[in-house]
């Protein structure tokens, strides 16, 4: 067995945020489903408690979302770098990652991407999180806040196209979040993702650690640019 090193991948505020967010959203999905389909679902004891749970969870998730944004943007200042795909990601990264998930993974090849604290996400994660965290979450939160204050915010409600439109939007966004959730949780089981999100540290086998092979790596390297070369690189490292 080779030596293991540990990378501190997920700082504690992010871990706390993430699990509040995750449990909040699961509760929101369950209570929301009962609110929309009261005749078929009774997960919470009554309609009223479903609504109260939904309102409370909605407020908690909104606050924790703001906290997440604040933490990455103001404290860590890594929001843009982490979440916005760059040119390379769009040109090659996405395709490469997709090929990995659809073919190479099944053939047993390792992931073309390895996470470091500054480049946590592979190009597909980046794009998905970008859509979820910058479009879905804010929109679902805003529509939710409008629905929570229909009378005081009547004018805003009308500006958004009437309450029916807001409800429809809120519902479809929630369905999208549920779709994301299924994919997200499944993909987390593909690699060693869950442990870092729980304890913060990721264990990496010594020889895979990027710093060990700086001369092979291309500058600005997020472990690989072209997948076959990565294989090549690994081979070379092993022979050295």
């Amino acid at each position: 067995m080779s030596e293991k090193t540990r990378i501190y991948l997920q700082p504690w505020p992010i871990r706390i945020w993430h699990w509040i967010n995750a449990s909040g959203i699961i509760i929101l999905i369950l209570s929301g489903a009962q609110i929309r389909f009261p005749e078929t679902l009774s997960i919470f004891s009554s309609y009223k408690s479903a609504i109260e749970v939904h309102n409370t969870a909605g407020i908690i998730v909104s606050i924790s979302f703001s906290f997440w944004f604040f933490y990455y943007k103001m404290v860590k200042n890594t929001l843009d770098k982490l979440y916005i795909p760059d040119e390379e990601d769009i040109k090659h990264g996405l395709v490469r990652q997709l090929l990995y998930y659809c073919f190479w993974y099944f053939l047993g090849r390792p992931s073309p991407y390895h996470a470091t604290p500054d480049h946590k996400f592979n190009p597909m994660q980046k794009s998905a999180y970008l859509a979820v965290m910058f479009v879905l979450m804010p929109l679902v939160g805003l529509t939710g806040i409008l629905l929570l204050n229909v009378t005081p915010l009547r004018v805003l409600v009308l500006m958004w196209g009437g309450i029916k439109f807001i409800v429809a939007l809120h519902f479809l966004l929630a369905c999208s979040l549920l779709a994301f959730l299924c994919t997200h949780v499944y993909l987390a089981t593909l690699g060693d993702y869950i442990k870092p999100m729980l304890i913060g540290w990721e264990e990496v086998e010594e020889h895979e650690e990027p710093e060990k092979a700086p001369e092979v790596a291309i500058p600005g390297y997020r472990p690989v640019r072209h997948y076959p070369e990565y294989e090549q690189m690994l081979l070379e490292q092993r022979h050295n």
Binding site: G108, V155, I163, K164, F171, L178, L181, T183, Y186
Partner: protein
């Protein structure tokens, strides 16, 4: 009570009965093409003074235009104010009928309710301005109650158990919860943004405002464009898209007005209203204001409140007015989310050997 009084009472009751019979006749007559106004020559004697603000003290003024439109006009003043002395006006009291004489059914029902001890019929009805429930918008019914029950206080009181109580009390006539009824319909009324901007403060649209917007044509034609006294979904959509400063708000109103005011425990259960499938949300009307202060009730095509977006964009009742098509789209989205776990997971299972082998190699 003195015997003379009793005699007077029974005389009054008989008179009232006669009047009622007469009213039946008149109602028949009006069905033949007369209107109440034509039959009220006997109101004229009294209205010559009481119909003019200058002639009588303010409290005794009766708006002749509005009175002659009411069902009571056909009875004539004397049916309720029997034997006004010739010396009138002399500061003496004039006899006034008891509503019970003619509305015995409703009076009995009312007497059984919890409100009977709080106020008499005239607390909610002005005998000279009675209206048929059909001609009243749900919003107006709440104005009756708010004469005695302060709106803010009610919002706070109901808010103790009712989520979003402000919204509820604005969108529901009080009687929807405080009287029993078998059936409900959605009564829509027109609101207007202040200052004609699309997003100004919302107020119930007045007859004069709407008249100005309609520009000489009858107000109904704003919505019922082909004037067939029926509003189709298409007409609703056109209205909602073209009338920028007007909106339709809806209220869930009992189809029959009972007078047994009560506190119904079933109304504490949100599912009384917030469930679908009962067909509750299928019937709707639009209340269009008329010159005399009443409302013209125009039926609306079925399904208006269930339409996804355009037919009634400002009316939504959680749980009950959800749109089936949107549910299907939502389901499709969720299924997309299952592609990875199910599809990928399956192939992953089939190829699990490949990954084991690689692990052994390294």
């Amino acid at each position: 009570m003195k015997p003379a009084d009793l005699q007077k009472m029974s005389l009054l009751a008989k008179l009232a009965l006669c009047a009622w019979a007469l009213a039946g006749l008149i109602a028949q007559a009006s069905a033949w093409g007369f209107s109440y106004g034509d039959q009220t020559g006997n109101n004229q004697a009294c209205l010559s003074c009481h119909g003019k603000t200058g002639e009588v003290p303010k409290g005794t003024f009766i708006d002749p235009q509005r009175f002659t439109q009411t069902a009571h006009a056909s009875l004539g003043c004397e049916a309720c104010h029997a034997t006004v002395p010739a010396t009138h006006p002399d500061g003496n009291k004039v006899p006034k009928a008891d509503c019970r004489d003619c509305h015995s059914g409703i009076s009995e029902e009312y007497a059984k309710g919890l409100h009977a001890a709080k106020t008499a019929c005239n607390g909610c009805h002005n005998p000279h301005l009675v209206q048929n429930p059909k001609d009243v918008s749900g919003q107006e019914i709440n104005m009756i109650c708010s004469n005695c029950h302060n709106g803010l206080e009610m919002t706070a009181k109901h808010g103790e158990w009712l989520p979003q109580s402000e919204l509820h009390l604005r969108m529901l006539p009080c009687i929807t919860c405080h009287t029993g009824a078998k059936d409900y319909y959605i009564s829509m009324y027109i609101v207007k943004s202040k200052g004609d901007s699309r997003f100004g403060k919302q107020e119930v649209a007045e007859y004069a405002d709407l008249k100005a917007i309609a520009g000489g044509r009858p107000i109904v034609s704003l919505i019922d464009t082909n004037r067939d006294n029926y509003v189709s979904l298409e007409e609703l959509r056109v209205f909602n898209r073209t009338q920028k400063s007007l909106h339709l708000y809806g209220m869930m109103t009992p189809s029959t007005v009972s007078h047994k005011f009560e506190i119904l425990d079933s109304r504490r259960n949100c599912s009384f209203c917030h469930t679908s499938g009962s067909g509750l949300m299928q019937t709707s009307f639009i209340a269009v204001p008329e010159a005399d202060g009443t409302f013209l009730r125009v039926p609306v095509e079925k399904g208006a409140v269930l339409d996804a977006l355009y037919a009634a964009p400002d009316f939504y009742m959680m749980g009950s007015t959800k749109n089936a098509k949107l549910n299907q789209i939502g389901l499709a989205i969720i299924c997309c989310g299952l592609i990875m776990p199910v599809g990928h997971g399956f192939v992953r299972f089939l190829t699990r050997k490949n990954r084991k082998e690689k692990e052994h190699q390294s």
